[in-house]
C-alpha cells in the first residue's frame, strides 16, 4: 500500500480534498475490532480498487464489503456511524437510541414530553433524571455524513433550556425543573458550537466529542449497537423493525419472534441471530 498512499488524493463527504491516509484507514479498521492480520488482508484486497479522486465514502464501502466477508461482527462495528445514520429519516429512533444509552448509565428517561416554558410550550426530546438531578436533553439527528451541528444548535437549545429551566410556583417563587441542558448529535460539532455550549455550561455529546464519553465511545462501551448496523438484514427489514419501535441490536437477542413478525423467513434466522450474538451478545439484555 505504501506507494499508493504517497500518490492519491481522496474526496471527503464535505467535498474537501485530502491526501489518502493509510494511518486513518488502518486505525478505523482496528477500532472496529479487526486484528492486524485482518487489517492487512483488507488493505491487500482494497489496493487494486483505489484511484485518484476516489471518495472516502467509496473507500469505506469497499473496505466494508471486504470486511463483511472476513468477519460480520467487525463489519457491523465498522459501520456504526452509518448504522446510526440509518436510524433516520425521522429523528425518533435516534432519540430512543440515546434514551437507551442513558438508561444503561442509570438514568431514567422520558421521551417527547411537552413542557410549558416561560414564553412558549416546548417538546423536550428526552427528560432524564439521575441522583436527584434532571436533564433536558435535545437530540439533533442529521441524515447526511459530513454535516456538522453549528453554533446555532446549542444557541437555540440554550434558549429552550432557559425557557423551561425554572417552574413558577406562586407569584415570584420559582423552583428548579432542569439542572442542565444537553445537546446530543450523531455528527460533529463545529468549534464554535463546542465553545458556546461549554461556555454556557451545557453538556455536549457528538460523534467524537467529548474525547471520553462521545457517542462512539458510549455505544461501544455498552454494546448498544443500533440494529441498523447488522449486515445480515436488508434496509427495508431494518426500517420495518424501527417502525415497530425496535432500535437496538440486543433487543433482538431474546426476541427471535420479532424477526419472523417482520416477515423474515425461517431459513435466514440462524445467520441473523449469529450476527446479533457476535455483535452485542456479550453483555446482559
Amino acid at each position: 500500500m505504501a506507494e499508493i498512499t504517497d500518490k492519491i488524493e481522496v474526496v471527503k463527504s464535505s467535498g474537501e480534498v485530502v491526501p489518502f491516509s493509510l494511518r486513518k484507514l488502518t486505525s478505523s479498521l482496528r477500532r472496529s475490532g479487526a486484528d492486524p492480520a485482518m487489517v492487512e488482508e483488507v488493505l491487500r484486497q482494497l489496493e487494486p480498487s483505489l484511484y485518484e479522486g476516489i471518495s472516502t465514502k467509496k473507500i469505506y464501502r469497499l473496505a466494508y464489503a471486504i470486511l463483511k466477508k472476513l468477519s460480520k461482527s467487525t463489519a457491523a462495528r465498522y459501520s456504526l456511524k452509518r448504522g446510526i445514520m440509518e436510524l433516520g429519516p425521522s429523528g425518533f429512533p435516534f432519540e430512543k437510541f440515546i434514551a437507551e444509552i442513558l438508561n444503561s448509565q442509570g438514568y431514567s428517561t422520558r421521551i417527547g414530553e411537552f413542557i410549558n416554558g416561560h414564553c412558549v410550550r416546548h417538546e423536550i426530546d428526552i427528560v432524564a433524571t439521575k441522583e436527584g438531578r434532571t436533564y433536558m436533553i435535545e437530540c439533533k439527528f442529521h441524515n447526511l455524513l459530513g454535516t456538522k451541528s453549528d453554533v446555532k444548535v446549542p444557541m437555540y437549545i440554550h434558549s429552550r433550556f432557559k425557557d423551561v429551566e425554572k417552574v413558577e410556583l406562586t407569584g415570584n417563587e420559582f423552583d428548579v425543573r432542569f439542572h442542565q441542558g444537553w445537546v446530543v448529535t450523531n455528527t460533529r460539532f463545529t468549534d464554535d458550537a463546542i465553545r458556546y455550549g461549554t461556555c454556557m455550561n451545557m453538556h455536549l455529546v457528538g460523534w467524537d466529542f467529548p474525547a471520553k464519553g462521545s457517542l462512539k465511545d458510549l455505544t461501544d462501551v455498552f454494546e448498544l449497537y443500533p440494529l441498523t448496523c447488522l449486515t445480515t438484514l436488508t434496509k427495508a427489514e431494518k426500517q420495518h423493525l424501527l417502525e415497530q419501535n425496535l432500535v437496538l441490536c440486543k433487543e433482538l437477542l431474546s426476541n427471535e419472534s420479532l424477526l419472523l413478525k417482520a416477515g423474515i423467513r425461517h431459513h435466514r434466522l440462524d445467520g441473523i441471530m449469529q450476527e446479533v450474538r457476535s455483535l452485542c451478545g456479550h453483555t446482559q439484555v
Copy 2:
C-alpha cells in the same frame, strides 16, 4: 367569476388545499395599486385559465402576466414578495435591502460586523443605531415561498443577543452594547416564533408582521422596491446588478450608466427607466 369561486380548490405553496378566494385575489391586486376597473379586467382575462387544483403560484403567474400588459408598475408592486425572494440565493442583498429600509427611517447602519461575545465571536448582520440606542439586527432570508421562520430562529438569535448584549469594561464592570435584538425575515413567522420573540422583548419584522410596520408596509411606504421587482429586466440582468452591490430600484434612477455597464443595450434603456420611474420615482433618492 362568482361560479368559479364556489367550485374550485387551490393548492398553496405549503401544500395546503384551500377554497379559491376571489376576495384575497382582489385585495392583493388592489394593494398593488390596481383600480377597480383594472382588477375587473384581470379577473375577466384570468377566469378561463382557472381549474380545479391549480396552484396559487400558477394563479399568481397568470394574474401577473395579465397585469404586466395593463400596467408595468402595478405588476412590479404585485410581485414584491417574489421580487424580494429573487434577492437570493445568498442572504447578502437582503441584508443590504433591510439596511436601506432602516436608513430611510433615520437609522445609521453597518453590515456584517464581527463582534466578540461573552462565549464566541459572532457576525452580526446589521448593527443599527438611532437616538443613542443600538440594535442587533439578524436577517433570516428564505429562498422558498411558503417557508416559515419557526421558533428556533428567535431562540438562537436571542442567545446571540445575550452573548453580545454587554461589553466587559474592566473586571466585573459591564456596559450595554446593544439595547435590543431584532429578527427580520422575508417570510412569515410561526405563532410560537412570534410568542417567544415578543415575550423576550425582541423586535420581529416579517413579511406581514407586525400589523403595522411589516416588511410589506415598510417597502411600500418608503417606495424601497428591490430592483428584482422590475418586469423589464431579465433574471440574469437582475443577478448581475445585485452582484454589483445594487439592490434598490431607485438606485437606478440617477444611474442609467449602471444599466449599460451591466450589458443592457441602448434601445432598451427608455423602457426600463420608464418602469423605474413609475415604480419608485415618487420619493427623492
